[in-house]
């Protein structure tokens, strides 16, 4: 099944019309000795067969719909209202492409404009783009933007409590650009140490809030220190937390990035996700990515178009602010529908449920002999670090036997935290699940 509608008879007519004997005539410019290679691929199968095969592949996976999931670390399981899948599944949205022809793309354009508005509301920023690939790439491009906005300053100070993979992507992205990325070598280093590194060559200071360990920080002093040296302050956020917590715009951020997957998108084994990218108005012309703006049509009606395109690669080529073209349109639409459905009060309620349930779980776990909370004195949102009495991998093995997907083993990225797990609790975790978790942890320690 190749989804080609034309029959051999149709093709015969078409070949005659163009004066060709067979489709072979259309490929004579392809070197003959390598034309029509034999491809070592499985034989074609039907729709029924591929579905059956995938269902059996599914049976080899353990997933968060049948196991209790306490794993977060940048990918979160939240409730997705039925309207989200229903609406983004409409073919008019998901089989369209970049809205170059505005008159027949108002659905996409207006929904992106609404998405941009909602992201500005959440983050406290003036401008948000149409989306980036994910939280990590958004953060990396924010650092490049800060480098350009500070006339080529090359030092980037990043907190060790920023997601380890985001810091890896930041380094990958900037390897051709002669950046010095500093500050994250030692997890025990606090903001006091990092602020001492700020100098006149510092392009930006990067924080995550809540940080990778779930802690919430008052980052106003960091913003002030960065600004005093002429550097930008970049904050990576979990958007669900902003239903409850102060937006970074209120404590001095210049650029806010984040992973938007938690806004109405499933775990999907890590992708596609949604890069949130927002900034202050003064930096809009240095921003990467697409922007939708409001205007009027020739009948005097309000309408929406792609705008400020002179920043982009298809106009500016090697002088563009980024090479990004295709982004995460459908995932941004899901976030837009999710935020519309949740609204002002719903998002706050989701954030509160996460907060209270996580605090309940943390308290219960800390009461189990052998377990402790190394960062117990810091305020946190819905993730927290647990020091385990036995090896974290053994704890997770024990949890799996109880049909629980356990925490993130912090030793993967932080050798000093090799005895610790990072747990995440959301509104999807019932009290009963939390009690099962604590019972299983108790058994694992015994």
């Amino acid at each position: 099944m190749s989804f080609v509608p034309n029959t051999p008879a149709d093709r015969e007519q078409m070949l005659q019309a163009i004066g060709a004997h067979s489709t072979d005539d259309l490929f004579l410019d392809v070197p003959a000795d390598v034309r029509y290679p034999h491809l070592e691929l499985p034989d074609p199968i039907s729709e029924a067969e591929i579905l059956a095969e995938l269902e059996s592949l599914n049976a080899h996976n353990v997933d968060a719909s049948t196991y209790a999931c306490f794993l977060g670390a940048g990918a979160y399981r939240h409730f997705i209202p039925s309207v989200v899948g229903h609406l983004i599944g409409r073919g008019e949205f998901y089989t369209a492409y970049t809205p170059y022809q505005a008159e027949i793309s108002q659905g996409t354009l207006q929904s992106i404009f609404e998405y941009q508005s909602m992201i500005c509301a959440l983050t406290g920023m003036d401008v948000a783009n149409a989306s980036h690939y994910d939280g990590a790439t958004a953060l990396a491009e924010a650092a490049i933007m800060a480098h350009n906005a500070t006339r080529g300053r090359s030092k980037v100070i990043v907190s060790p409590a920023v997601h380890p993979e985001y810091r890896q992507v930041l380094r990958t992205y900037t390897q051709g650009l002669d950046f010095a990325i500093v500050g994250d070598g030692d997890v025990t280093r606090g903001w006091g140490d990092l602020l001492k590194m700020i100098d006149r060559d510092t392009a930006c200071v990067i924080a995550q809030n809540p940080d990778f360990f779930g802690r919430i920080h008052d980052l106003r002093p960091v913003a002030d220190a960065a600004h005093a040296a002429g550097a930008l302050f970049i904050v990576s956020v979990n958007p669900i937390s902003l239903g409850l917590l102060k937006p970074p715009g209120e404590y001095g951020a210049d650029i806010v990035t984040g992973e938007g997957q938690s806004l109405g998108w499933p775990l999907d084994f890590g992708g596609p996700y949604l890069g949130i990218f927002a900034c202050r108005e003064q930096y809009v012309r240095r921003m990467p990515g697409r922007l939708v703006g409001q205007t009027v049509d020739n009948r005097g009606q309000r309408g929406f178009v792609l705008t400020l395109q002179t920043r982009e690669q298809h106009i500016r080529r090697e002088k563009a602010t980024s090479n990004i073209c295709t982004n995460e349109g459908l995932v941004a639409l899901a976030a837009c529908v999710y935020l519309a459905a949740m609204g002002k009060n719903g998002l706050r309620k989701v954030a509160e449920l996460c907060y209270h349930k996580a605090h309940y779980a943390a308290t219960e776990i800390a009461a189990i002999p052998g377990y402790s909370l190394p960062y117990g004195s810091s305020p946190f949102f819905n993730e927290f670090v647990v020091h385990c009495p036995v090896a974290p991998d053994r704890v997770n093995d024990a949890l799996r036997r109880q049909k629980i997907i356990g925490g993130y083993a912090l030793g993967r990225a932080y050798p000093q935290l090799k005895d610790c797990l990072l747990f995440c609790v959301t509104e999807m975790n019932s009290r009963y699940q939390i009690e099962r978790l604590t019972a299983a942890l108790r058994d694992a320690a015994a």
Binding site: D63, A64, R77, G91, A130, G270, P272, M342, E352
Partner: protein, 486 residues
């Protein structure tokens, strides 16, 4: 007829959220860290559904009509793909789960790496890049790492044909490189003499799209690769146009060293209104060790596991790439098989040549030779009547057809880049031919009809200059109403 913004609907206290009651004791909130008002909409579920349904109806899409947008491969997106993606054992997998609990997903990724390596002739594959431009960037970093690993530090310039997509030069700049442009010859190929003059020991490599953005297969592609290799550079292939040649020829067999693919073009992943895409990168054996971290490996016992390539450029994205797109591409390749992939390419090329043959007498065709999956017309002839390509594009909308890519590639004035894909039946093509010929007549006889198009859309032509001069980029509650108050 326009649709209000979601912010202009509903009333205070309304919501579509249905959430469980708190079943644990409350903890105290950090009062000094809490936010004040959160200005989000307050609407009911029925309002949400009607709003976004009405918005969707303002879109043209592959599911509603012909979409010959050049270089974007707007082929039909099989619905089985979506059913596959939504299987709970895929949709509810956390990326950090233990390998032993995700063997089904890893097997799929491993197999897809094998398939794409086979189709490209470049056996080492990373599925991590999120889109075509992201794949390009990954590829350029691999080439950079290759040169540096040999202690070859003087290479600073990337050669890019004048017909290239804008992402190519932008990508090179992100890699820290200088861009030098090589011109095309009269038949639309890379000009070999010009290329020879540019290629030297400062050449990083070339970024080559083949078939190129004119829809033409470069007649000297092997010589191009040879010239670059002779000066010590590598050949990067932009696989945006792979739909024309899958199963016909493997870029690896032509001399390419690196190639990105667009799963959302060639392999039937829906375009989503501007993503998510997916841009896997395939490289030769010599470059395998530089791929992003991690790739999926298979032990001799048949266990699938994450593997870190020894000289990796690092990670280009969090987690493992666009997994849902991988599932769709996997399903597509399994359903087509080798014969189906070739059949798809042959029909994509046949459909394009059929359109070209029926339109080249009424529109200028700057490069008149057999095309591949797309071809580029020029609206230059019509400018004599005061009609521009933009007007032709807008008039197509009146007939329920999405306009082609316009004003690109830059080397063709008033360009119309037309890519029908293989999934269009002959009747659709015949209809498009008739409409395009009618528009050519109208341009001559009644140009105002084109200037005022489109006539039946929810909005007419929009003032882009005003949008850029006085940017309104979000809802503020004031200044968002239109001048006529609609």
């Amino acid at each position: 007829m326009t649709e209000p913004l979601i912010y202009e609907m509903g009333s205070p206290g309304r919501t579509a959220a249905s959430l469980p009651a708190l079943d644990v004791p409350e903890s105290s909130l950090p009062q000094d860290m809490l936010r004040g008002d959160l200005p989000l909409p307050e609407v009911s579920e029925v309002e949400v559904v009607r709003h976004f349904t009405r918005l969707s109806q303002m879109n043209h899409a592959v599911d509603t009509g012909f979409y010959p947008l050049g270089s974007c491969t707007m082929k039909y997106n099989p619905k089985v793909n979506d059913r596959a993606v939504n299987l709970p054992g895929f949709a509810n997998l956390h990326p950090y789960q233990d390998e032993m609990t995700v063997q089904g997903a890893l097997l799929l990724m491993y197999e897809l790496q094998q398939f794409l390596g086979e189709i490209s002739g470049l056996p080492a594959v990373s599925l991590q890049p999120a889109a075509g431009a992201h794949g390009e960037f990954t590829g350029m970093l691999i080439i950079r790492a290759y040169h540096l690993s040999r202690g070859d530090k003087k290479r600073t310039r990337v050669i890019i044909p004048d017909s290239a997509h804008g992402t190519n030069p932008a990508t090179s700049a992100m890699g820290g490189y200088e861009v030098v442009e090589v011109k095309s010859d009269a038949r639309g190929n890379v000009d070999l003499a010009a290329l020879r003059a540019l290629a030297d020991d400062t050449t990083v490599g070339i970024m080559l799209t083949n078939p190129n953005t004119l829809g033409l297969f470069d007649e000297h592609v092997r010589e191009v690769c040879q010239i670059i290799h002779d000066c010590g550079g590598l050949v990067y292939g932009d696989g945006a146009n792979l739909n024309a040649i899958m199963g016909i020829v493997r870029p690896g067999d032509l001399g390419f060293d690196v190639l990105h693919m667009n799963l959302h073009k060639t392999f039937s992943v829906p375009h989503g209104g501007g993503g998510p895409g997916s841009g896997p990168v395939c490289v030769s054996k010599a470059l395998a060790d530089f791929l992003p971290d991690p790739v999926v490996g298979r032990t001799i016992e048949g266990f699938y596991t994450w593997v870190r390539p020894t000289k990796t450029i690092g990670r280009v994205k969090s987690f493992h790439g666009q997994f849902a797109a991988m599932v769709r591409a996997y399903v597509y390749i399994r359903m087509l098989g080798a014969a189906g992939l070739r059949e798809a390419a042959e029909n994509a090329v046949l459909n394009a040549n059929y359109l070209m043959a029926h339109l080249k007498d009424v529109y200028d065709l700057p490069y008149d030779r057999t095309c591949k999956h797309e071809f580029v017309l020029s609206g230059s002839r019509q400018t004599a009547y005061g009609v521009r390509t933009l007007d032709i594009a807008k008039r197509l909308i009146d007939f329920g057809i999405h306009p082609p890519t316009v004003y690109f590639p830059l080397i063709v004035p008033e360009a119309l880049m037309i890519e029908p894909t293989e999934t269009e039946p002959k009747e659709t093509l015949d209809d498009f031919i008739a409409v395009m010929r009618q528009i050519a007549r109208e341009a001559e006889q009644n140009p105002d009809l084109l200037h005022s198009a489109p006539h039946h859309t929810p909005v007419g032509r929009l003032d882009e200059v005003r949008a850029a001069r006085e940017p309104i980029l979000r809802w503020t509650g004031k200044g968002n109403t239109s001048s006529s108050g609609s």
